[in-house]
C-alpha cells in the first residue's frame, strides 16, 4: 500500500507528459494570475471545456498548475504595478507597491515567491495529512450535515467577500436555483423546464461559469480601458537565506490561517490573504517598516496564506465533495464531466486520484519557485498587454470554450446571458462567486435536505430535533446561527457595548 501511494504521488513527476503539462500549467498560471483581467477561475472554467476529452490526470495536472501559478502570479502585478492581478493579491499590493517605489521590487518579488512556495507546500502537507482523516470522519456525516455545511459555505462567502451578506446570499440562492433546473435527481420530474426539452438536462453549468467569470469580467474591464501601469525597475531577485529565515515564523502562522480559511467551504485565497495581513498587522510588533509603507511582513503574510489556501481548498473538495473556494467549485465541475464523484467515497474508490493530486500540487509549487525567480524581463512586457487586445481575446476564448462543451450555439446564448447578468451584478455590488458555489452545491443541498426529511418520515418537528440532537450536527447548526447573528445590527451593538464594558473594567 505504502509503495503504491508513493508511486501515485510521483506519477506526475515521472511521466514526461504529465510533468510537461504541470510545468506548462504553472507557467501559464503565473501569467494568467499576473495579467489584470485574467483570473484563475476564468482560466480553469475555460480549460474544463478544452480538456474534457482528455485523460482525467492530464486535465487535473494542467488545472493544478494553473491554480498554483495563478494564485502566485497575482502578487507580481500587485508589487510592480499596484494593480492586484487577482483578488487574492489585493492585500499584497498594500505593502508590495511601496516596496517597488523604494526600488526594492526585485527583492520584494523574490521574497513573495519564496514565501508563496512555503505557503503552498504547507497547504499541500496539510492536505496530505488532514484529508485521509477527514474523509474517514466524513463517512459518519448524515445528509443533514452536508446540508448545513453547504449553507455555511454560502453564508461565509457571502458575508466575507461581498458588499453585504444579503447580496451574497441572494447570489448563492440564485446559483442554487440555476442548479435546480432540469430533471429532479430523485423523482426525475422536470423543474423549471417550461416544457422545453432542451432544459430537461439543466442549464449547462460550464456555460454559466464562463459567462460569470469570463464574459462578465471582460465587460467590467471595459470601464478600465485606459488605466496605464507605472513601470518599475527590477534588480536582484533571489533573496538571501537570512532574509527568508527571518520571516519563517510569520509565514508558518499565516500558512495555518491560509489552510483553515481555504478548507472552510466557500472561502478561498482572497479572504485568507486579507485575514493573514490583518493578523500580521496585529501580531508583528516591530515590522521592518510601518505597515502600508513597504513592510516585508505585509508581503509575507498574505502571500503565504493565499498559497496555503490552495491545499486547504482541496481538503473539503476531495473529502466531502464541497468546494473550498470558487476555483475548486469549477474543478468539481470538471470532475463531474470526467465521471468522478467527489465525496468521502472518492478516497476509497480512487485513492490514486488523491495521491496524484497531492504529488501534482507539490510539483506545481516547485515549478512556481522556478518560474517565479526567472524570466522577469519577458514578464514585465507581457503584463503590459493593453486591454484593448486582452478583452476581445478573453471573449473569443470564452466563446470557443463554451462551444467546445457540446458543440452547440445555444450554450453560447446561455454564456452571453449569464455574462450580461454577471456584469450588472458586479456593477451593483453582487459577487458572482457565490452563484457558482450555489450551482455546484444546490443539487447536493436539495438531495441532502430531502434525504434528511425522508429519514424522519417528513416530520418537520423531528427534522428540527435532528438538527440539535447529534453533537456534530449541533456544532454545524450553531455555526449557521452564529454566522447569521453576526450580520445583524444587534450583534454590532452588542460588540461595541462589550468593548466599552471592557474599557471601563480595565480602568
Amino acid at each position: 500500500m505504502e509503495g503504491s501511494t508513493l508511486s501515485y504521488f510521483l506519477m506526475s513527476w515521472l511521466d514526461p507528459s504529465l510533468l510537461a503539462l504541470t510545468a506548462a500549467g504553472t507557467l501559464a498560471g503565473v501569467y494568467i494570475g499576473a495579467i489584470p483581467g485574467l483570473s484563475v477561475t476564468m482560466a480553469v472554467s475555460i480549460l474544463i471545456s478544452f480538456t474534457f476529452a482528455w485523460d482525467v490526470n492530464d486535465a487535473l495536472a494542467l488545472m493544478g498548475g494553473v491554480f498554483c501559478g495563478g494564485v502566485y502570479g497575482g502578487s507580481r502585478t500587485a508589487i510592480l504595478l499596484n494593480i492586484p492581478g487577482a483578488p487574492s493579491a489585493i492585500a499584497t499590493a498594500i505593502d508590495g507597491f511601496p516596496l517597488a517605489q523604494r526600488g526594492e521590487a526585485g527583492r520584494a518579488i523574490g521574497v513573495s515567491t519564496v514565501m508563496s512556495v512555503i505557503g503552498g507546500i504547507t497547504g499541500v502537507i496539510a492536505l496530505a495529512l488532514a484529508a485521509p482523516a477527514i474523509s474517514e470522519f466524513a463517512l459518519m456525516f448524515a445528509p443533514r450535515d452536508y446540508l448545513l455545511l453547504a449553507i455555511i459555505g454560502i453564508l461565509l462567502v457571502g458575508a466575507l467577500s461581498g458588499e453585504s451578506l444579503a447580496k451574497g446570499v441572494f447570489a448563492g440562492a440564485l446559483g442554487v436555483l440555476i442548479g435546480m433546473v432540469g430533471l429532479d435527481p430523485m423523482t426525475a420530474e422536470g423543474r423549471f423546464t417550461f416544457g422545453q426539452v432542451s432544459l430537461l438536462g439543466g442549464i449547462p453549468y460550464v456555460a454559466a461559469m464562463i459567462g460569470f467569470f469570463g464574459v462578465a469580467e471582460a465587460l467590467v474591464q471595459l470601464h478600465h480601458l485606459h488605466a496605464t501601469p507605472v513601470r518599475q525597475k527590477v534588480d536582484r531577485i533571489v533573496p538571501g537565506w537570512d532574509v527568508v529565515k527571518k520571516y519563517i515564523p510569520l509565514s508558518i502562522r499565516s500558512s495555518v490561517i491560509g489552510v483553515v480559511v481555504g478548507a472552510l467551504p466557500g472561502t478561498g485565497g482572497d479572504i485568507a490573504a486579507l485575514m493573514a495581513y490583518d493578523h500580521a498587522k496585529r501580531s508583528v510588533k516591530k515590522p521592518s517598516r510601518p505597515f502600508g509603507q513597504g513592510a516585508y511582513e505585509g508581503l509575507v503574510a498574505p502571500e503565504t496564506a493565499n498559497n496555503a489556501a490552495i491545499g486547504g481548498a482541496y481538503i473539503p473538495m476531495l473529502t466531502l465533495g464541497l468546494p473550498g473556494d470558487a476555483v475548486t467549485a469549477v474543478i468539481i465541475g470538471a470532475l463531474f464531466i470526467h465521471g468522478l464523484k467527489p465525496g468521502p467515497m472518492l478516497m476509497i474508490e480512487t485513492p490514486h486520484l488523491f495521491w496524484f493530486t497531492v504529488g501534482n500540487l507539490t510539483l506545481a509549487n516547485i515549478f512556481t519557485l522556478i518560474f517565479g525567480l526567472t524570466g522577469i524581463r519577458v514578464f514585465a512586457k507581457m503584463v503590459e498587454c493593453p486591454r484593448s487586445i486582452l478583452i476581445p481575446l478573453i471573449i473569443v476564448l470564452s466563446v470557443v470554450g463554451t462551444y467546445a462543451i457540446q458543440n452547440s450555439v445555444i450554450d453560447i446564448y446561455w454564456m452571453l446571458a449569464f455574462g450580461v447578468l454577471g456584469y450588472f451584478m458586479k456593477m451593483y455590488g453582487y459577487q458572482v462567486g457565490p452563484v457558482i458555489l450555489g450551482v455546484i452545491l444546490g443539487p447536493l443541498m436539495d438531495v441532502s435536505y430531502r434525504r434528511a426529511m425522508l429519514s424522519v418520515r417528513d416530520d418537520p418537528v423531528m427534522f428540527a430535533w435532528e438538527m440539535v440532537a447529534n453533537p456534530l450536527t449541533l456544532v454545524l447548526t450553531l455555526s449557521v446561527i452564529l454566522l447569521l447573528a453576526s450580520q445583524t445590527p444587534a450583534w454590532a451593538t452588542a460588540r461595541t457595548r462589550l468593548g466599552r464594558w471592557r474599557e471601563t473594567a480595565r480602568r
Partner: protein
C-alpha cells in the same frame, strides 16, 4: 464589508427587477409540486426562491441608506453603467455568436477580433489587423491542433 459607496444609477431598478424575477421563480417553484409534502421536488426550489426574495428585500432596505447617485435618470445610467463601448461590445458578441455557424469560426472570430480591437484602441486598422491575424492563428493552432476542439467550419469554404 467595504466602505459605503454612493449608489449607482439604476441600482434600485436592478434590485426591483431581480425581486420581480425572484417572485416569478417562487411562483414557478410552487407550481412544481405545491405544498403536497415537505420532501417533494418543489420544496427546495421554493426555499431557495424565498431566500432570494428575502435577501432582496433586505438589500432594498439597505440601499435606501446609501447616498443617492450623483446623477439620475436614463442618461446617467447610460453614461455610468451602459456606456456606448459596452453596448457595442455586446452587439459584437451577438454578431460573433450568430455568424459562427454560417460563416465558420475563422471568419467570424477574425472579424470580431479585428472590429473590437479597432474600436477599443480607437483606430489604427493595420495594427488591429496584424494583431487579430496573429491572435487568431495562435488560438486556432492551440485549440484546433493541441486541444483538438471541434470549431465550426463554414460549408462553402
Amino acid at each position: 464589508m467595504t466602505e459605503a459607496r454612493p449608489r449607482l444609477p439604476g441600482e434600485r431598478a436592478f434590485s426591483l427587477v431581480l425581486l420581480a424575477f425572484s417572485l416569478f421563480v417562487l411562483y414557478q417553484a410552487y407550481r412544481i409540486s405545491g405544498f403536497s409534502s415537505v420532501s417533494s421536488p418543489g420544496v427546495f426550489p421554493m426555499l431557495a426562491a424565498l431566500v432570494m426574495v428575502g435577501s432582496l428585500v433586505v438589500t432594498l432596505l439597505q440601499e435606501r441608506k446609501l447616498p443617492t447617485p450623483s446623477g439620475s435618470g436614463p442618461m446617467a445610467f447610460y453614461r455610468r453603467v451602459t456606456p456606448p463601448v459596452l453596448l457595442i461590445m455586446v452587439a459584437l458578441i451577438v454578431a460573433l455568436m450568430l455568424m459562427m455557424e454560417p460563416a465558420g469560426f475563422v471568419v467570424a472570430a477574425g472579424g470580431f477580433l479585428f472590429a473590437s480591437i479597432l474600436i477599443l484602441q480607437g483606430g489604427r486598422p493595420v495594427r488591429a489587423a496584424v494583431i487579430s491575424a496573429g491572435a487568431l492563428a495562435a488560438i486556432y493552432a492551440v485549440f484546433r491542433l493541441v486541444f483538438q476542439v471541434v470549431l465550426p467550419e463554414a460549408e462553402w469554404l
